[in-house]
Amino acid sequence: MKALGMILGGKRGAMDLLVIAALIFVVFPLGLDIFRLNLVGKYLTFAYCAVGLVMLWGYGGILSLGQGVFFGIGGYCMAMFLKLEASDPISTAHQTTPGIPDFMDWNQVTQLPIFWEPFHSFIFTLLAIVAIPALVAYIIGVSMFKRRVSGVYFSIITQAIAAIVTILVVGQQGFTGGINGITDLKTLHGWNINTDFAKYVLYFVNGVLLLLSIVLSKLVLSTKLGRLLLALRDKEDRVRFSGYDVANFKVFVFCLAAVISAIGGAMFTLQVGFMSPSIIGIVPSIEMVIFAAIGGRMSLVGAIYGALLVNYGKTAFSESFPTLWLFFMGLLFIGVVMVFPDGLSGLYKTHVEPRLRQILRKQGKKTVSSKTSIEKAGA
């Protein structure tokens, strides 16, 4: 019990986690209709990337501008499985080659490509969602961190990777669906994912997985590894001179962030019903960094609030001002970065928390003083 408390970050950490859990599992489902709840579910899938970035950037000091790639890998793996299930020979009978996804038929592909075959299996798909991003991150991580590529160079390279992957996906449209993405996904093992009931179920699964990835991250941070991460963020050389292989730690945290993002991507596909290259490129990758920054880049729970707030702002502003809303989003970002450099969690710590404590203390005093006055009156 005590160990668990330690992992969650003491009483305060557990409290933060409880509040967000109450919000996700009680307040939103009761207060929102299924349409809005499904939107919140979509926002929360972006929160996975923000959580990953808090680990990678906030604690590890490594700024990746290519997290969309991992989000995309997770999303595409899931989409490939669902698309194969939706492309049975009966419902694709009007195609030149029945039994393959519709976009392949449009692109004159006549046989299912080999790398699509394993995605007939759901178990393989689930494994791939975790293993492929980890492998990709491992390869990128080893080839860069072992060569001591870091800082802004690492950021630029990850950004370039995001651009390359987008171009690849768009260009190979016979195999990937191109710019349209993989659309028209219907069932998961015969279970219709578009019903309201399915949307509720997916929303809760999504919420549970998100909180689990936060707990996992906290677990990592509570070990010696976590402290080493902080140390190498602040003084990399000193850690290296103490005899640690710095690159390995960096590779580990990069892989961790990649896997967490990919799970978010898979949940995105399930809840939104399709996957497209427009969510894996440079712009969405940078947006994910913004979620983490607005939440406070040292706060795992803050990352969720950041993703929720920014995405809610996007929806609300664009519904109210269809032509001007991008300016409001820009102002929001500039405002947050200039006024609250530590994001929402920083704002909470410097402004809300002390006041709360003050109020609590005052109330405590009041009850004491009112007691004494009663006593006096009684006397």
Partner: protein
Amino acid sequence: MSLNSSRHGSSAGARKLKQLLVKSVLAGVVANGLFAVTSSQAASHIAVTDKEVVVGQLHSSTGTMAISETGAIEAEQLAISQINAMGGVLGRKIRVIQEDGASDWPTFAEKAKKLLESDHVAAIFGCWTSASRKAVLPVLERDNGLLYYPTFYEGLEQSKNVVYTGQEATQQVFAGLDWVAKTKNAKTFYLIGSDYIWPRTTMKLARKYIETVLHGKIVGEEYAALGSTEFGSTINKIRLKKPDVIYAAVVGGSNVSWFKQLKAAGINGKNQTLLTLSVTEDEAKGIGGENLVGFYSAMKYFESLNTPENKKFVSQFHAKWGANAPIGDVTQAAYEGPWLWKKAVEMAGSFDTDKVVKAEESGTITFQAPEGLIYLEPNHHLKTKLRIGEWEANGQAKIVYTSDYIMPNPYPKGY
């Protein structure tokens, strides 16, 4: 929740947040789980009162597609204001809720869902790219909504929930190739397009038609990445092969570079026949008329069309949106959407989606559009004519050929 808060000024966002908070707290207190589960099955009813009916408009007003979609937005609003001035539809005035798809396909899906499930709109006028339509399609089919889609596109689709007011590929391709083969005595063709579904499908049809029907020869087929601006090597190959006709479907920003580089290489309307499927008056403005002189476009509509209906439409459009606003093929097709919907609703005597679809599929709906009389066929596409326009330096096209009516055929056999 947002039936009437969507277009009301600056406090809407704040009010929504407040609503959301109040709602959450209330719901938390009541703790009525059943309520949340059952309240969602409301997507089927439609927002219509005795006085008004709500429709949605879903285009990109921001992002890379905004420049293309603005014309469609304006044309639809013009049509709706004219319909309202005539007394509306079934005695109801049309109120529009405009949403921004932001050139981003997931956003299109999100907004379509919002329009159908929160606003309960009777119909949506919107989308431009195939990608956005593909993203919206599952939402439409699930919530049984109606979409009027204005862009010429690749075909291979026919949804009960969509009316396609632009031409599908066979309507745009075959008649144009016939014309160029006959009048220019063309035997060799060079195909070039941007690399995505529409040009690829279109060129697939064109290749088959050229080889089997016209007995011509394809001397080159090439696809440039979307957004690519480098056509030097393509132009060199064209010079080498000397095709009778360049058949082009290059889109977006690439289009501007493509025509400018052709001109710089000395290839122009005087020494080369070029037929394009992707230049309307909107694109001509961006490319510059002087770079297009003498080249041809195959479209169902050109602004210069000399009929009383079109002259009236052009002057009304310019009066509302400015005298310099170009009117392209898609803009005119977007204008047809609200009118066709009005006719279908009046024929059905109801806003109910299934009844309106039945009316649409009756095969008896026609409309005197700016392009001329159009017929809504049971396969959800329009029977229209194809026109060939020759570009002039002022960015307008002179119509040099008009085909007979062409039946839409979204699933061509043997191609």
